[in-house]
Amino acid sequence: MSMLRVGRWITAIGLVLLAGVYLRALSFTPVEQSQGLAQKIFYLHVPAAIWAETAMILVGLASIFYLFTKDPRLDRFAASSAEVGTVFCAIVLTTGPIWGKPIWGTWWTWDARLTLTLFLFLLYLGYLLLRSAVPDPAMRARYAAVLGICGMCEVPFIHLSVYMFPTLHPMPIVLQPGRPKLPGSMLTTWLLSLGVFTVLYVGFVVQRYALSYLREQLEAAGEVGHA
C-alpha cells in the first residue's frame, strides 16, 4: 500500500474516532458545575494545543538533524509537521476565545500564554510562507530549518508562561507534576481525545509527507512549481 493511501486510512480512522470522542464528551461525560457546558471545549482545545506545540518541537528536531545530515526526508517531514501544526494551532486560537468569552467575559486578552500562542501561529505561517517563497530546494530547506529551530525554542516559554507571568489562563491541570486534578470520567474522555488527535496528526503528516514526495518528483520532472 502506498504511503499516501496509508495516510488516508489513518486520517479516516482518526475522523471516525473523533466522532466517538464527540459522542462521549457530549453525552457521557459529566458537566462541570462552575463552567457549565463550555468546559467541554477543554476536550478539544488542550489536545490540539499539545499537538500544536509538539509539532513545532518535531519541526525543530528534524531541522537540527537536517542541518547536519542534509537528508531531504527530514526536511520533508519538517514541512509536513509544520503544516499540520498550523492547523492544530488554528484550532487552539479559535476554540480558546470561544471558551474564554463565557468564562472570562472576554474573547481575547494580551497575556503571556495567549500572545505566545499567537506568536507560534505566526511563526508557523512565516515558516510556510518562507518555504513557498524560496525556489531553490537546498536553500529553502536550510532557511526553513533555521526558522524551525527558532520556533522550537519558543515552545517551552508557552508552557511555562502561566508560571512566569500573571495570566487569566488556567494552570495546567493534566500536564503538571503530581496527579491530574480531574475526575476519572473527564480524564478518560480527555485521554481518548488526546489519542485521537495523535492519530490525526500521524495521518495528516503521513499524507502531507507523501504529497511532498510526489511534488518533488513532478518538480524534478519539471511539471509543477515548488511546494
Binding site: 463552567q35 457546558l37 478539544l44 492547523v87 495528516f204 507523501a210
Partner: protein, 40 residues
C-alpha cells in the same frame, strides 16, 4: 441553595462544529491536492 450551572451550550456547540469543520476541511484539502498531483 445549590448554585445553578451556567447556560453556555452555544459556545460549546460552536467550538465543536468549528473543530469538525477545520479537521475535515484539512483532510479534504490533502485529498484534493494529492488527486491533482496524481492526475495524468
Amino acid at each position: 441553595m445549590p448554585e445553578s450551572v451556567p447556560q453556555n451550550a452555544t459556545y460549546m456547540i460552536a467550538a465543536y462544529i468549528l473543530v469538525g469543520v477545520i479537521l475535515t476541511g484539512y483532510a479534504l484539502s490533502l485529498y484534493l491536492r494529492a488527486r491533482r498531483c496524481l492526475r495524468p
